[in-house]
């Protein structure tokens, strides 16, 4: 049975990857004949993936958690880079969720992206994302997770910039990508420290449910690692103060917004923390930091969400605030609750974003039943009792309680750094001062 589970997991993981490669080769064919073929390939890949993931899910829940070793990548003295899948309940649940969500979006997009010039590119990125996301959730160690993690970020940024003939999607895609990359420094540092402390990242069945390397570290070792992972998680999950990219990410086709920022990618950070819970258990300081970040995000995001007058931004902030809450739950050690919250929220928000364009229709129906809409009750009370506070509250919400300004200031610093680096490079390579980087400037000003 051991081989069966492992085999199924590998099939579930690799079917989208193979699909992506086939889809990519069709780019050599003329555009008109491509659409149907691409849709077929995607459907086949996702179906195989969903069925296998469901099998893995059933087997693991029935027969228990396990680690599947796929061999060793390389060994350097006593450091060993192992290829392994960690199939615990958390991982396989997330895997099944990812496979199902990608399959669903694949099906949805077949008609939604009909005749879209970027149809093939969309499916390629979606399949890459499916592979990457499943790799993240089943990775047997942090090194493998990092591979998936980066591919998730890349496909996310490329889909935000899907309509690259307009400047705004490209700028916003770059902003997301830059945020990811910077926060990934934290993740990298975490990985290096973990290697340093654990010496080798052995995978064993002794402690399913967590990477064995993360278990049993002393607090002074665990804390910096956990903080590093937290920084990485903040980027992907759009937490305060680096979450400004999330509403701006609503630039791609609706289904991609739904799967990335409603369902899966936005929860990758929360998943990483759940996965590293052994570290959090060992490092109360880091757990406190997780609570702080989550709570701040939840409050600022829900505040901001309340004043958004368009459906996608509204949903982006709503997602951000719930993920903040999930962070809080994780920090407090309610892992089961967080898990439940995560899966439910992914379903709810993904669905909401998917039908975001139907909002006019839906609200019109409700409107008929209750007449005019009321404004928020709490807000109503505030405005009645403290009329002077009303505008301040509103303005603060528009500015994400300072998050906007903070994000902008960060962006400016980074931009300065990038320019300095570019100048340095120019002097070193003896080229004239690059007056390019217009895209960077635009990111800053947006």
């Amino acid at each position: 049975m051991h081989e069966l589970v492992g085999g199924l997991a590998v099939v579930a993981l690799c079917a989208p990857l193979l699909g992506a490669l086939i889809v990519a080769t069709t780019l050599l064919r003329p555009a008109q004949s491509r659409e149907r073929f691409v849709a077929h390939v995607a459907r086949a890949a996702f179906t195989i993936s969903v069925v296998s993931a469901a099998g893995v899910l059933a087997l693991v829940w029935v027969q228990g958690e396990r680690t599947v070793s796929l061999g060793t990548w390389f060994v350097v003295e006593d450091h060993q880079f192992e290829l392994a899948l960690l199939l615990d309940r958390l991982g396989v649940t997330m895997m099944a969720l990812s496979a199902a969500a990608c399959g669903l979006i694949g099906r949805f997009s077949a008609s939604y992206l009909h005749r879209e010039p970027g149809h093939t590119r969309f499916y390629f990125l979606l399949a890459i994302f499916a592979f990457a996301m499943m790799l993240v959730v089943t990775a047997g160690n942090l090194d493998m997770l990092f591979v998936g993690w980066e591919l998730v970020g890349l496909s996310s940024a490329l889909l935000i910039g899907f309509f690259h003939e307009r400047p705004a999607p490209v700028q916003n895609g770059l902003r997301a990508f830059a945020t990811y990359r910077i926060c990934d420094i934290g993740l990298l540092v975490g990985i290096i420290l973990l290697h340093h402390h654990a010496h080798h990242v052995m995978v064993s069945n002794a402690n399913p449910g967590a990477w064995s390397a993360t278990i049993g570290l002393p607090a002074e070792a665990a804390t910096p690692i956990a903080i590093g992972l937290l920084v990485g998680a903040m980027g992907k999950s759009a937490q305060f103060p680096v979450g400004g990219w999330l509403p701006r990410a609503m630039e791609g086709p609706t289904p991609s917004s739904a799967i990335f920022y409603g369902a899966l990618s936005i929860h990758a950070g929360a998943f990483l923390l759940l996965r590293a819970r052994a570290l959090l258990d060992a490092a109360p300081m880091a757990a406190a930091a997780v609570i702080g970040v989550g709570a701040l995000t939840a409050v600022t995001a829900t505040l901001s969400g309340r004043v958004q007058a368009d459906v996608k931004n509204q949903l982006a902030y709503a997602a951000m605030s719930q993920v903040g809450l999930i962070f809080v739950e994780i920090g407090l050690g309610f892992y089961e609750l967080a898990m439940w919250h995560l899966v439910g929220h992914a379903t709810l928000r993904g669905f909401q974003l998917l039908r975001a364009p139907a909002i006019l229709h839906e609200l019109h129906t409700l409107h008929g039943g209750i007449g005019d809409f009321e404004t928020g009750r709490f807000y109503g009370l505030v405005t009645r009792w403290f009329p002077s506070l009303e505008r301040r509250l509103y303005v603060g919400a528009l500015g994400r309680a300072g998050g906007e300004g903070l994000g902008r200031a960060l962006a400016r610093r980074l931009l300065g750094l990038a320019h300095r680096a570019a100048r340095l490079e120019a002097t070193l390579t003896d080229e004239r001062d690059p007056q390019d980087a217009p895209v960077l400037q635009e990111v800053h000003s947006s």
Partner: protein
């Protein structure tokens, strides 16, 4: 700010005028829920079409026609014929066509080549490719002319080997020329010779080319303006509304911008300006800005327009709502001057008007020269000028040809192409009309057993055909879908009354749908359900309630899977559940004055449409008789079948912000079912019948009217008030239901051939199932194709259009010229139909030819904003016009309007009715007169009406519609259909196609 006081002394008119000018030119799109099609370039309608589109290109930056490549592709697939190109070119060049430009090459030949062939590519890489790899000698001229051309050239080149090096610009001349090989494949060398000489005689060709307008490159102020404007316009999407909206956009914005902490945090200047402007109102602030920037009063109009065009979507919304308050979704003031003031608050006007040319991309001279040289060489090859002659040309000749090409530039070529494109289509229509007319004249129409009135809408053309093809005794009638009833209507489930009449007209009556039985329980349950729904909507987005919703979010899997994998079943399940839970009562209309019981109560919470409260509820008998007599008389209905079905239409679709654009255009983007229902109720009333008889319109006692609605998306047909149909008609009613059910299945069948996701061989039943699912499919950005194929309008007796297959492309308006001695009816009909038909047609035209400036681009990233409009993704201006998914199979041609009237009568009406006159003389529609007596056709052109001689041999005849459209996805040419015509005709003409 000291200038403010002085500027107040200025006559108030100048600013108002400038703003009025801008308001006129800004996009005039209402909030999406009341989407009404209108001519996108309505503001330019005083100009002839071709002038207007160029003027608009200058001012708004939108393309005038399709790109030239689209026309060339249409030419290649035979959609445009060579004779269409020749004829339109002759018409365009007139007597200048025969003037020689070079020896043996006339201006006409030159222009023709320039149209059909791409002479010089647009970019450097393509130019290089042409020079290196071009194959113009392979492709053209035809083989017969090619051999001598090549042989001649080769002989000429080899004649003088020393010159060869120079003529072909060969770096190192071959010491020994490989003659056998050269004779085998002389093409590259010859081509090179042409290009080398062409580049020698091309000098100094630096000339201006306009590039696409750049997106304004400072997004920050725009972004801020968009946030404020969408918060202000929001009609219930944001949970916390913008404070202080009752004081207007400018005042509310100033108060916010003066505070710290917003997204404008880093821009201190904005905060300071806002603090300084606190005491001013919008108008005063605008005047101050004008003064501070030193803009002269004469420049105000231009300057204000160009400033507002940078935020045209939102500015247009303010202007539209200011012009017609009844469109507004909120009670707050909407003023264009406020929008301008806020715009200038976040981005002050620059002191000097920076000319647009500074931002334009200038083509560098060498590149323009390269392109010119390529054009010259290819032109020589295409016109068949042989090499010796070509080499004899000098720079003056080159200049002359290039000047000629310049004068007959891209836009002009496209204009001629557009005319040719339209000509081919128009003549296909006229040929079919003529053939059908000839066939019909031999027949006598059968007395109708069933009459079905539909909207004039092009989407009802197929439904009508499929009804009539079932039996010669079924007759259909085309009446504008509001049935002459200018009402503000409030259904039992509507929060407010909404106008159901053509845009621009005022409602005369208020009609309510009321529960026929006591429905207290229903009202309670409905409110309770809606509260629950709204609570879920808001709650799922907030923090704490949201977390509860999220933790139970797994339950959403069920509707999610159903919606994606079984949309039709999901929709049915939802409808069934709602019915079971709500048990809606039977309803009736408050059709007559004094019969309404509870209008006071419902009217009281209707604050948005205060004007409606003043309207009388229900018609009185005389008014009703007037309206009905007018409608029936105008449509030429004087004979009545025992059963008369009046169908309105509407459209239901999910996940589609542009849903209202698919609804009935004659009902201001509402569902026309209420009008049809009211029409039937009024017409069934014995008092109204008596009053109608007094007006000379006898409706037999046995005739029963039934109202209904046709959903053009799901093809559902619903009939109202069937319990009012007497038992004597039970059998006929049952037959009618069968007929309608069959017709709707065939209608669905005819529609699905356009959808790539449906195989062509599908059965009508499966087609119906498909469209029922499609309407509710979240994943479907094209729930229906709407007016996407509209191109034709026929005004006349049905008997003449019956038997025509018009492929859902035609507005069919019933009108009887034999009962209209002085043309008053026709004038009335054209006055109302002309602008509606042309409005729909031209909106589709412009949204197709420029999908970004006139249309709203692809739907995929659209984001519904404040229930008012859509924007692209995270944040952008409001996008107006139609999305790509609504126009992707549209052929942008101006409406071919065939009217059964004499040319004199039409000219007379064009003179009497300025609205019609502008459309006709400006060429915004293609008008054709069909003489009611003889059936002769006359096309209207620049020189007035000219007779058209149809070519009947080009028209196919089919046994029924299905035979005509089956197995085709593309547009079908108009054809003749024999099904449903009396037997006599069928024997006369056997189908020429199986």
């Amino acid at each position: 700010m000291s200038a403010a006081a002085e500027l107040y002394e200025e006559p108030p008119d100048a600013l108002a005028k400038a703003l009025g000018h801008a308001a006129h030119l800004l996009p005039a799109q209402a909030p999406l829920a009341s989407f009404v099609h209108h001519n996108t370039l309505h503001a330019f309608e005083h100009l002839p079409f071709h002038e207007a589109v160029r003027e608009a290109e200058q001012l708004l930056g939108g393309q005038p026609y399709l790109p030239i490549g689209a026309f060339r592709a249409a030419y290649a697939r035979g959609r445009i014929r060579a004779r269409d190109v020749d004829a339109t070119l002759d018409l365009f060049l007139m007597d200048r066509g025969d003037e020689p430009i070079l020896e043996g090459v006339t201006r006409r030949a030159l222009a023709r080549i320039a149209m059909i062939h791409e002479l010089a590519p647009d970019d450097v890489a393509q130019c290089a490719w042409v020079l290196a790899e071009g194959s113009e000698l392979d492709a053209f001229p035809p083989a017969a002319a090619r051999q001598p051309l090549l042989a001649n050239a080769l002989a000429f080149l080899l004649d003088d080997e020393s010159a060869l090096r120079d003529r072909c610009h060969v770096e190192a001349a071959p010491t020994r020329i490989d003659l056998p090989r050269l004779r085998h494949d002389p093409e590259p060398l010859v081509r090179r010779a042409y290009h080398v000489h062409a580049s020698r005689i091309t000098v100094d060709a630096a000339r201006q080319e306009s590039a696409a307008p750049d997106e304004p490159n400072d997004p920050s102020p725009r972004s801020l303006f968009f946030r404020l404007a969408s918060a202000y316009l929001d009609a219930g999407l944001a949970y916390w509304a913008m404070p202080g909206r009752e004081d207007g956009f400018f005042t509310a914005s100033v108060r916010l911008l003066a505070l710290a902490g917003g997204p404008w945090e880093s821009d201190r200047a904005i905060r300071q300006r806002a603090r300084a402007a606190k005491a001013l109102d919008g108008e005063a602030f605008v005047r101050t800005c004008l003064g501070d920037a030193g803009i002269q009063e004469v420049d105000w109009a231009d300057r204000i327009l160009s400033e507002l065009l940078e935020v045209r979507g939102f500015a247009g919304m303010f202007a539209t709502l200011e012009a017609d308050r009844s469109l507004a979704l909120t009670a707050f003031p909407h003023r264009l001057v406020d929008a301008l003031a806020v715009w200038w608050l976040v981005r002050p006007p620059r002191p000097r008007h920076e000319t647009k040319t500074s931002r334009r991309r200038q083509l560098d001279a060498p590149r323009a020269t390269t392109r010119d040289a390529i054009a010259l060489a290819r032109l020589a090859i295409f016109t068949g000028i042989d090499l010796p002659t070509f080499v004899g040309l000098d720079a003056r000749d080159g200049r002359r040809v290039l000047d000629e090409l310049q004068a007959f530039g891209d836009r002009t070529r496209r204009q001629v192409w557009q005319e040719a494109y339209e000509r081919a289509h128009r003549h296909a229509v006229l040929d079919a009309v003529a053939l059908n007319d000839a066939g019909q004249r031999a027949l006598t129409p059968a007395a109708p057993r069933l009459q079905v009135a539909c909207c004039i809408d092009d989407r009802e053309e197929s439904l009508r055909r499929h009804i009539e093809e079932q039996d010669p005794a079924y007759e259909t009638i085309g009446i504008a879908g509001f049935y002459g009833l200018a009402i503000a209507y409030q259904g039992v489930s509507d929060p407010h009354a909404r106008p159901l009449l053509p845009a621009g007209r005022k409602p005369t009556h208020r009609i309510e749908e009321q529960p026929a039985t006591r429905a207290g329980g229903w009202a309670f349950r409905r409110r309770w359900m809606a509260e629950l729904g709204f609570g879920g909507h808001v709650g799922s987005r907030t923090l704490l309630r949201g977390s509860a919703a999220s933790m139970t979010g797994i339950a959403q899997t069920v509707p999610l899977l159903l919606d994606v994998f079984a949309p039709r079943r999901a929709a049915r399940l939802r409808a069934g559940l709602a019915r079971t839970a709500l048990r809606p009562p039977k309803t009736r209309l408050s059709a007559f004055a004094g019969e309404s019981a509870q209008s006071e109560a419902t009217a009281s919470h209707d604050h948005d449409h205060q004007a409606d409260d003043a309207l009388p509820t229900g018609y009185d008998v005389e008014e009703a008789a007037d309206v009905l007599a007018g409608v029936l008389h105008d449509a030429g209905v004087h004979e009545f079948a025992p059963l008369f079905i009046a169908l309105g239409h509407g459209s239901t679709s999910m996940n589609n912000p542009h849903e209202a654009a698919h609804e009935c255009g004659a009902c201001s983007g509402g569902k026309g079912g209420a009008n049809a229902r009211l029409f039937a109720v009024l017409a069934n009333d014995p008092r109204v019948r008596t009053a109608l008889a007094e007006r000379g319109l006898e409706i037999p006692e046995e005739t029963v009217f039934v109202g209904g609605i046709h959903d053009t998306s799901s093809d559902a047909v619903t009939l109202f008030d069937l319990d009012a149909v007497p038992d004597s008609h039970a059998e006929l009613l049952a037959e009618t239901k069968r007929v309608l059910l069959h017709a709707r299945a065939l209608d669905a069948h005819e529609r699905v051939r356009r959808f790539d996701s449906v195989p062509l061989g599908v059965s009508p039943k499966a087609a119906l199932r498909h469209v029922e699912g499609r309407a509710y499919n979240l994943a479907e950005p094209r729930p229906e194709y709407g007016h996407c194929t509209n191109a034709i309008c026929l005004v006349g007796r049905r008997w003449l259009s019956r038997g025509l297959f018009l492929d859902r492309r035609a507005f069919l308006v019933s009108y009887d010229p034999t009962r209209d001695p002085d043309g008053d009816v026709l004038a009335r009909v054209l006055r109302s139909v002309g602008p509606v038909g042309a409005g729909i047609n031209l909106e589709y035209y412009f949204s197709t030819v420029d999908q970004n400036v006139y249309g709203c681009g692809t739907k995929l990233p659209h984001n519904v904003n404040g229930l008012v409009g859509v924007m692209n993704g995270h944040e952008s201006d409001l996008r107006t016009g139609l999305p790509y998914q609504m126009v992707d199979v549209h052929e942008p041609v101006r409406l071919v309007t065939v009217v059964e009237a004499t040319p004199e009568r039409l000219l007379d009406i064009a003179e009497r009715e300025p609205v019609v006159g502008r459309l006709v003389t400006g060429g915004w529609i293609q008008l054709v007169a069909a003489d009611p007596e003889s059936g002769a056709l006359f096309e209207f052109g620049p020189g007035g009406f000219t007779p058209y001689t149809p070519d009947l041999s080009r028209v196919s005849t089919y046994s029924d519609s299905r035979a005509c459209y089956q197995a085709h996805r593309e547009d079908r040419r108009p054809a003749r259909i024999l099904a449903g015509l009396p037997e006599t005709s069928r024997r006369e003409k056997e189908p020429s196609h199986a």
